[in-house]
């Protein structure tokens, strides 16, 4: 089991967490892992909560969803979604890497941001926060947020894959905007390194 890795990308529809999970999956195949990825959708459709469960195993193939309390790491694209996910799925010594920038629903009914981070810290002593949305906007496209966070996640060491495989997968999957997204990956990675 020790080599196996259970990671959840938590965000809302449109943030690109499904794509992020596929990029990890492609790279993991090259690292000789069995890959199984599953998604769960929350109450909404577009703009609703989405969790992408990524299961990387060396020997057995399991079902696509990570059991509660069994995730090694959470990659949050949105802080409240990261908290909901971590509370339910993160194992006791698990890692959280999350975007700091919230997506507030139209009626502005959203919990206090500071408290979200307090609770995240409460859940995990290994919490990394990055203002991924700001980085993505600075690069020139908010759609690169998922790749910024992927870079940050890679820098924490939670992804058992090679950097060049991730970059190869980014280049293949985002052919049209590969350059921008590779820049996003680097920026995200450096944010963690500098911390």
């Amino acid at each position: 089991m020790s080599q196996d890795s259970n990671i959840i990308v938590a965000g809302i529809g449109g943030q690109g967490n499904v794509l992020a999970s596929r990029i990890i999956g492609e790279a993991a195949i090259e690292a000789n892992y069995h890959v199984l990825i599953g998604e769960t959708f929350g109450e909404g459709q577009r703009g609703g909560a989405v969790l992408s469960h990524v299961r990387l195993t060396k020997e057995k193939t399991y079902g696509p969803l990570i059991p509660e309390g069994f995730a090694d790491a959470i990659i949050g694209l949105e802080p409240f979604e990261a908290l909901k996910c971590a509370s339910k799925f993160l194992k006791p010594d698990g890692i959280i890497i999350t975007n700091e920038y919230p997506v507030v629903p139209s009626d502005k009914n959203y919990p206090e941001l500071e408290k979200i981070f307090q609770f995240l810290k409460n859940i995990s002593s290994k919490l990394y926060t990055v203002n991924g949305t700001k980085i993505a906007l600075d690069i020139g496209d908010v759609a690169t947020l998922n790749i910024v966070m992927l870079g940050a996640a890679y820098a924490t060491g939670i992804l058992p894959v090679k950097e060049e495989e991730l970059k190869k997968s980014i280049t293949e999957k985002l052919a049209k905007s590969a350059e921008l997204n590779l820049k996003a990956f680097e920026k995200g990675k450096n944010m963690i390194k500098e911390k």
């Binding site: 809302i12 999970s21 596929r22 999956g25 492609e26 195949i29 892992y33 069995h34 890959v35 199984l36 990825i37 599953g38 998604e39 959708f41 929350g42 109450e43 909404g44 459709q45 577009r46 703009g47 609703g48 909560a49 057995k60 193939t61 399991y62 079902g63 696509p64 969803l65 059991p67 509660e68 309390g69 069994f70 409240f80 908290l83 909901k84 509370s87 339910k88 194992k91 629903p105 139209s106 009626d107 502005k108 009914n109 959203y110 919990p111 408290k115 609770f119 409460n122 859940i123």
Partner: protein
């Protein structure tokens, strides 16, 4: 770029979604015809096949409904080619009559695989019924249950072999967690030799054989053949099916039986529990492998069965145990030992096994303070029609038109599609929904009861082609007055915007003649038809009023492309996107009509200043809100 799903790299491992893997399995299995009607969770099978069909010599089509799809697929088998029919579980109900007959009589020389996406938990369906009941009890055809993308590919391919061997359609029963799981799949060979089609149905010779023997076609003989021949031969196949795996030492007290994705749940649960139990995995669940079942039931004292969503295997096991007078206790849904409904997961399976073994387990539980912090906000991202959705405008128009008739109540009936959300606040234009085509169907009865309220049936474009036409003819036939509103967003939007007979192109991307809705409606005998643009709100309200006032059955067609698809196409073509709108706070009087009556997710209430504001990131520039604002506070944003 060549699609990965057809890469000619045998034994290479690639990442595929379960649905893509089914498509790959069909290609490896030398399938030459495929048909389907869109439905989540299985829509991507045909989407994948449609893209590559020409490269691999398959005809792939979206059919008008699942019944037509099945007829077409079975028809192709009579020309000796292998054929695949795909649907979600709801679609199986449509296939029922033809499939019973194809099962009793026989399909052609080409194999037929029916690949069905069941939806335990009903994530994207109006129920979670278990279609294996039909396959097993009504169609009486073999069922394969893949657990992951690799098996989805392998079982589909194997299905064609079995179909030709057993001369029966083969039912590949998928579930959401298989269709939508993405995993590593080891590819097999691509067959390049295609079969030459030749029309050679064996049905007539079967009929002649019976006439000679019995003087007429003998239905009892046909039914007996299923039980005495096919299912017996299929049981032998099941005994040797490589993914019917029994792990048993002989000294276990407990046996676990699981099929489909629950096999993986059971495997993980057993690993976590480190428990010694006998474990029977069923990749082929009907007919059951008597060899393994007999060995297992004679060896252990207790059995737990895990399957989604009905006790299909469990019922068979109970009947086997009883007929063999075996002293074994069977635990499952029937004695409410396992959950009787819904999707399973590792924890459900683990808890059930631990209960029998009297093992203490510690389940992960959320910290109380965090859970109570989250709880009030758990529903903040609620289901809604998208910004710019033409259905919102159509609903608003209809509500205004109906209420202007001097009534305060109306009998609105909805149907299956995105527009189902028109039944929810703030639009609330209908209060009843059934299944595909149910709106126009039920209107036929509701309108004849003599109620005084206006009767309005709402149906989508794809749904109308699929299931609305006979009910509309029925209205003409029986002089029934109600108004049918066809919400034409020019595609099958809810499942990912697949084409339909009004789209002008096929699953393979070929151009085709458009079957116009207004022509169809007129051909159904409807004399009053209005085609309206829902983005022209005031004009449409007046036109809708006239249609409602018409003394006979009338039809309104609201035509405007799905806003998501519209924007997608504009981006693809490199065209500029419409500019967002903005609300002038000096004019907005805070009446909240745009929020309370229209409800676009891009409009936000600024409680502090008691004004509405537009979220520029969400606004798609449709301008509908500008038309309904009573004080003209909304305009295109000028930078």
């Amino acid at each position: 770029m060549k699609e990965r799903v057809i890469s000619d790299t045998p034994s290479k491992k690639i990442l595929l979604m379960g649905n893509e893997a089914v498509a790959r399995g069909a290609i490896e299995g030398n399938c030459q015809f495929a048909s389907s009607y869109p439905g989540t969770p299985s829509s991507e099978i045909m989407e994948t096949l449609g893209k590559v069909a020409k490269d691999v010599g398959i005809h792939a089509q979206w059919s008008t409904n699942e019944m037509v799809a099945l007829w077409a697929a079975a028809g192709a088998t009579y020309c000796g080619v292998r054929s695949l029919c795909i649907a979600k579980h709801h679609g199986v109900a449509w296939m029922t009559d033809p499939l019973i007959n194809f099962s009793h009589w026989q399909i052609g020389e080409g194999g037929l695989v029916v690949a069905i996406g069941d939806d335990p938990g009903g994530h994207s369906s109006s129920n979670e019924y278990d279609s294996r009941n039909l396959a097993m009890k009504v169609f009486e055809i073999p069922i394969l249950e893949p657990a992951d993308p690799q098996e989805a590919k392998d079982f589909t391919k194997e299905g064609f072999e079995l179909s030709e061997k057993l001369k029966t359609p083969i039912y590949v029963r998928l579930t959401t967690r298989v269709c939508h799981a993405t995993g590593d799949v080891i590819l097999g060979d691509l067959l390049k030799e295609k079969r030459t089609p030749s029309f050679f149905p064996t049905t007539i010779s079967l009929g002649m054989e019976m006439i000679e023997k019995y003087g007429w076609v003998n239905m009892t003989y046909l039914h007996e053949r299923i039980h005495n021949k096919r299912l017996k031969e299929a049981t032998e196949v099941s005994n040797d099916f490589p993914k019917n795996i029994l792990n048993i030492d002989g000294d276990e007290e407990l046996g676990v039986v699981a099929s489909g994705v629950t096999r993986h749940y059971a495997e993980e649960a057993l690993n976590q529990l480190n428990a010694k139990v006998a474990f029977l995995q069923l990749g082929m669940s009907f007919p059951l492998p008597k060899k393994h079942i007999s060995k297992l039931l004679k060896s252990v004292k207790k059995i737990i069965v895990f399957e989604e969503t009905d006790p299909v295997i469990e019922t068979e096991l109970r009947s086997f145990a009883k007929s063999e007078a075996l002293d074994v206790e069977i635990l499952g849904k029937i004695n409410e030992f396992t959950p009787v409904a819904g999707e399973y997961n590792v924890n459900i399976v683990k808890t059930s096994i631990a209960n029998v073994l009297n093992k203490k387990i510690t389940q992960h539980s959320e910290k109380e303070d965090i859970a109570s912090f989250i709880a009030p906000y758990s529903g903040i991202r609620r289901i809604a029609l998208c910004a710019g959705c033409p259905h919102r405008a159509s609903g608003y128009i209809m509500k205004k038109a109906v209420l202007s008739q001097g009534v305060d109540f109306f009998a609105g009936i909805g149907d299956i599609g995105c527009y189902g959300m028109m039944g929810l606040p703030p639009l609330g234009v209908f209060a009843l929904t059934n299944c595909m085509g149910g709106s126009v169907g039920m209107a036929n009865g509701i309108a004849k009861t003599g109620i005084s309220e206006p009767v309005i049936a709402y149906i989508g474009d794809s749904t109308f082609y699929h299931a609305g036409i006979p009910s509309l003819i029925n209205a003409t036939f029986n002089n029934t007055k109600f108004t049918t509103v066809i919400l034409d967003n020019q595609g099958t939007a809810m499942t990912g915007f697949q084409p339909h007979p009004g789209s002008g192109y096929t699953a393979m991307g070929d151009k085709t003649k458009i079957v116009k809705l207004e022509d169809l409606v007129k051909a159904c005998g409807i004399e009053y038809v209005e085609v309206l643009d829902p983005y022209k709100i005031t004009k449409s309200i007046e036109a809708a009023k006239k249609a409602l006032a018409h003394p006979k059955a009338s039809v309104i067609i609201f035509r405007r492309m799905c806003s998501i698809e519209h924007l997608r196409q504009r981006r693809k073509e490199g065209k500029t996107l419409p500019k967002p709108f903005t609300i002038d706070p000096s004019i907005c009087n805070g009446c909240e009509i745009c929020l309370d009556e229209f409800g676009c997710p891009a409009i936000i209430w600024d409680g502090k200043n008691r004004k509405a504001i537009i979220d520029e990131a969400l606004c798609v520039g449709c301008g509908n809100c500008a038309q309904i604002c009573q004080v003209h506070a909304i305009n295109v944003k000028v930078k």
